[in-house]
Symmetry: C2
Subunit: 210 residues, 2 copies
């Protein structure tokens, strides 16, 4: 298979030993899908190794045990798919359009086509584990407070630019917008259709921006 040369990116020297036959990022993407669809407990190692296209010892060597893999998958999701909403938010110059884009892009993810998992890996799979795998609870809190801070900063900028009134409670509304995201994920998980949730976005935007 692998006719590649092992390159250690940090200093350019070649790595000893047999090279990996799989792409770590692609494997993580596959793990995300499995955990997202089945949750932590129901995702068996057979499910994971099959989806990731690697065998068990490779998984353990690369990622540690199942809990560590879940943590890696969660972080990968937070930086990848899970951040698409906030990126869309950043790209909209108008604050109303930005909040709308945040919810709309997130909704696309929460109600994907096909038989893939609905909802959100963080809200629906990781959060329920909070009391059980302590690392997971801390990670969820960290991801969310980071998002909230980011939203708060943007609201403060808009106040400076007079797009929002001077007494706009930025931090509170950032929490509220984050709550809207979780609520949307909850509805998507429990079967609400994309069109039904899309119709609710103006109401949610209004709740955030007054």
């Amino acid at each position: 298979m692998g006719k590649d040369v092992n390159i250690n990116v940090s200093n350019g020297t070649k790595k000893r030993g047999r090279p990996r036959a799989f792409d770590g990022e692609a494997a993580l993407n596959a793990a995300v899908e499995v955990f997202w669809a089945k949750g932590f407990e129901r995702a068996s190692l057979d499910d994971l190794t099959q989806a990731m296209g690697i065998n068990r010892p490779s998984l353990y060597a690369a990622f540690g045990d199942k809990k560590a893999l879940f943590v890696r998958a969660l972080g990968h999701y937070g930086l990848g798919l899970g951040s698409k909403g906030i990126k869309a938010f950043d790209e909209e110059p108008d604050i109303n359009a930005a909040v709308t884009a945040f919810l709309t892009v997130s909704l696309q993810l929460q109600t994907r086509d096909g038989d893939c998992a609905k909802g959100c890996l963080i809200s629906n799979c990781a959060a329920p584990l909070s009391g059980i795998l302590p690392t997971v609870g801390d990670m969820v809190s960290a991801i969310e407070s980071s998002t909230t801070q980011h939203l708060t900063q943007r609201f403060e900028q808009e106040k400076a630019g007079c797009a929002l009134s001077k007494d706009f409670p930025s931090a509170e509304r950032a929490v509220l917008l984050s709550d809207m995201l979780h609520a949307q994920a909850h509805r998507a998980r429990t079967g609400a259709s994309r069109s039904a949730l899309k119709a609710q976005i103006p109401m949610r935007v209004d709740a955030v921006l007054r």
Copy 2:
């Protein structure tokens, strides 16, 4: 043990056979606690039977299998603990106080003292199972749409009584209030303190009532 007489409540005639040595409602309450704390998959039958104070065959005879027990526990929670918020809502004549009470009483439940489970059995344990145990998804939807309808009716009454403006979008705001409940549960589950969440209640009430 049981020196009781078997009474069939429906017609007063005595029931054949050995009487049950346990109280079905108390057993369900115990099952609720176990599922709430551990989730469906991590709650083992040893956990359940120990907490419920019955042995395995009695559990299977009384409730069916583990899935059926979860469904029963979920329904029991929905009618019992899970409805305390809506009851508090109904008892407050002022609409602002009612919405506040709805969130406050729910928060007590979501952040109980001791080492018991935080959050909500519906939001944090049942909803994640939606795609996996179809019955559960349908039950969650049913419980929530019932709550939303109830809230909507009250809002409409308040409009008739002029406590809310004529153009108040009752149905939308009922959904929004239900969303606030889920968001609070999510925060509680992931470690937010009761006092921190209590401080956010006025903001959430404001989002619902304008």
